[in-house]
């Protein structure tokens, strides 16, 4: 901001009043001028933040009328079709919000759509961070916080879905209880404790309500604030480019440019969610009817973010169910219900540390990787996405079977095979694509980019004219790091006096070396490449050799 113009007197007065008391001018200016790198993928987390804000606001509105009670009443509200039907007060009050509270249905639908988009934004944000290596030191803690937010958001969504006590929510709670019962030894006790007796009991709605509106949102809010404070302190990562190093950030200042963009972006996010809510019906609980333990329906799924759990339950075979001393150990529920999500979330949380252990890289990274420049990580990510995606699809296998006329059992077997083969294929394909892109980068760095212009030489030969890359492009291409691991360094096995390193002889040391080899072996070397030194350029219309700008 320019310092030559003076703020209006009224504003100055307010500013001085605040500054005299809180001494905010200095920190304020520093923070307002904070630089934000300009790239769309850095806005993904903001989508999650904005939908969370929308969720908080609409959630407060809904609590004004919602009654978290399982007391059975006879409905006599304004929704004529269900008059005279026995239902819980929770369901009746949701009908009241839907039909009698002005704007109630719209707010309910905004709340639901915002929840779906909130978790979806979390996922794409996490994928961006993963594939660009933005979780590396110094950001491991923030990555862990992010994983915790993701897990909590799922549980929060599940509980919110269960509150209206309509048909699908009751079925969702029933599945939750089934997974709980599968726990060895403690299962029935955990279930009896949560439900205050047998399913469904009379307590579960009020307990889920407390968790949904108090405990989990408070945890989420705290974690989100921590996430942002750490982000603010550590600053954004940035993609490689001119002037961008681990020590300098290039981008737009927070105020005014970024603030305007972010503010506008909030309204756009809100507009999309509100638009969906106004025109697309979501979770029409008044059509479903209230839940009773005898009711069941086909074709109902949980909200999308629980889909992978549903899918793993559906496709995991019961071949490993055991009975030990007369006690059943239902692995067909236990493994998909607990081990699979444990693997996914545990794997997410552990990956930064696994990667650090393999590479021995203890440096701080503020420049993000281009996904192609870390082919093994990208491959692992693609494998994880495929595994999750297959489970997620399997969660809707009945809808898929019906829509595409595939036999239900055949679809189950297809998903079983895909869940194992898919990730392996995805790993190799993604890695090969990365290496191919690396080769293309190398080619582009050496020869310039393909201009699309075909030229005929005096000899009659046709060539495509390659043109020199812009300086910015050269900087991006030359930024490719070579992935190395300390486990493969010359002195990793023996020190300079020839003494064997005891760490390297142990099993874990050998494993680490094997993993390090796997992690680093595929690399297209750029070492001997000088920008625009390739022969194609000599034919180009721009004859002058451009020196690579650094």
């Amino acid at each position: 901001m320019s310092k030559t113009t003076q703020a209006p007197k009224a504003l100055r007065g307010v500013g001085n009043f605040i500054d005299d008391r809180f001494h905010l001018a200095k920190t304020g200016e520093k923070n307002l001028r904070k630089v934000f790198p300009n790239h769309w993928s850095f806005m993904l987390g903001e989508i999650a933040l904005y939908s969370f804000i929308i969720l908080l606001l609409t959630g407060v509105f809904l609590t004004l009328w919602f009654k978290p009670s399982m007391m059975e009443i006879v409905y006599d509200g304004s929704y004529e079709r269900l008059q005279g039907v026995m239902m819980s007060e929770a369901y009746a009050s949701t009908l009241h919000i839907t039909f009698d509270v002005r704007g109630g249905l719209l707010i309910r639908q905004i709340h639901h759509w915002a929840a779906l988009i909130f978790v979806a934004a979390l996922v794409v944000h996490a994928l961006r961070v993963f594939f660009t290596g933005a979780f590396r030191k110094p950001r491991e803690i923030n990555w862990l916080i992010g994983v915790a937010i993701f897990a909590l958001a799922m549980v929060e969504g599940l509980f919110g879905y269960s509150l209206p006590d309509d048909l699908p929510s009751g079925m969702g709670v029933r599945i939750l209880q089934g997974v709980m019962l599968a726990l060895p030894l403690v299962g029935p006790y955990v279930s009896m404790f949560l439900f205050g007796g047998e399913f469904p009991g009379e307590d579960i709605i009020s307990r889920l309500y407390m968790l949904h509106i108090l405990l989990i949102p408070a945890l989420l809010l705290g974690l989100i604030v921590a996430h942002f404070m750490i982000l603010w302190h550590q600053k954004h990562t940035q993609y490689p480019g001119t002037g961008r190093t681990d020590k300098t950030v290039v981008g737009t200042p927070m105020f005014p440019a970024f603030a305007v963009k972010a503010g506008g972006f909030f309204f756009f996010t809100f507009a999309v969610i509100a638009g969906l809510s106004a025109f697309v019906q979501i979770n029409p609980i008044h059509l479903f009817g209230p839940f009773t333990p005898t009711s069941i329906t086909s074709g109902l799924q949980p909200d999308w973010y629980m889909g992978f759990m549903e899918g793993s339950l559906r496709i995991f075979p019961n071949w490993f169910d055991l009975t030990i001393f007369g006690y059943a150990l239902p692995t067909a529920v236990l493994v998909p219900g607990l081990v699979v999500p444990g693997l996914i979330f545990g794997g997410l949380a552990a990956w930064p540390f696994i990667e650090q252990w393999i590479t021995g890289d203890k440096r701080a990274h503020n420049v993000a990787d281009r996904p192609r420049n870390a082919p093994v990580r990208t491959g692992v990510g693609a494998a994880g996405v495929t595994f999750y995606g297959v489970l997620w699809l399997a969660g809707s296998n009945d809808i898929i079977s019906e829509t595409f006329s595939i036999e239900l059992y055949v679809s189950t077997y297809i998903f079983r095979v895909l869940a194992i083969v898919g990730p392996i294929l995805a790993f190799f394909i993604a890695k090969r694509v990365c290496l191919g892109l690396q080769r293309r980068d190398r080619e582009m760095l050496e020869h310039g980019y393909e201009s699309g212009t075909i030229q005929q030489l005096p000899s009659g030969e046709f060539i495509e004219v390659h043109k020199p890359n812009s300086d910015g492009m050269v900087d991006i291409l030359e930024s490719k790091p070579t992935i190395t691991s300390t486990a493969l360094a010359d002195d990793a096995d023996t020190d300079d006096k020839g003494v064997e390193n005891p760490e390297a002889r142990k099993g874990s040391g050998k494993l680490r070396r094997a993993l390090a080899r796997w992690y680093t072996k595929d690399n297209v070397s750029f070492d001997d490449v000088e920008a625009h030194s390739g022969h194609h350029l000599h034919h180009s219309s721009h004859e002058e050799e451009k020196e690579a700008a650094h």
Partner: protein, 313 residues
Amino acid sequence: MKWITARRRHPLAGYVVVILALALFGVGYAALAPTAEQAQAQTLAADAPSQENVDDVDIANGEDIFNQTCATCHNYDGSGTYDENGEILRGPDIRGVGAAAVNFQVSTGRMPSMDPDAQMPRKPMAMTEEELADLIAYYNAQIRTGGPDIPYDVPGEAPERSSFEDEASYEAALEEYENEYDSYLEGADDTQMGMQLYLTNCAHCHGWSGGGGALTDGRWAPEIHDATPRQIYEAMVSGPGAMPIFSDGAIEPEEKQELISYIKTLQAEPDAGGIFDLQRVGQVAEGLIAWVVGLALIIACAIWITAKQRAHD
């Protein structure tokens, strides 16, 4: 330079080609794939709608229809076609299924079937109402040994314009039908009972909204939106395909009325939540929309507001 030459390297050219190719395949498939309507027209081309009175049934005509369209699989005496091991060859014994089953199968277009091994989808009826009445009369007179009757007090198909000579008599018949339909549904006033019966007995295959669902062995529970109350009733008492029989002893006629009224009222219910109801598929469709419409639009906006002009590419 030709028009196409100037544009084929356009950044959007690839997308245009893909869209054109997809459109070509889609239209081509739709044009070439045999439709159910064509297949039926081949078997029953000879029957033009007749104008005779429905009460005036012609058993001889019914016999002709039976021998031409049914007997190939169900045999001339309705005893079905079986191999030496007692396995059904083409069609089962229909002597004991009752007139309700015949009316259900034929009026929903499932019979006559093109492929005895496949589950038949609902189609427009392959014969006229008069021919069906003749067929049923013949079936009752010559073939039937038992089974449930057609529930004539439950409203069936709406009258069709083509069976009436003038507009006035059609209007009168339609109004009479609609009155009958409404009074049948309104005669049920215990939503609680209808809902419980439907959600306990029907929804685990046909879905909460009657939208249908997948079953085992490649079968499916059909959508029942188009089924008339009489067809739903007949399906319950005759148990077509994989469906169990819900006899009048198990679920009494009054309870069936509550059940049918529940599902028909639910289906007629407007979508309060917005003009797009996603076919009432539910969470799978909602998740899809959240990703491919909601999130995609927001990300497109993020790309838009952070875009800057690059030097090249």
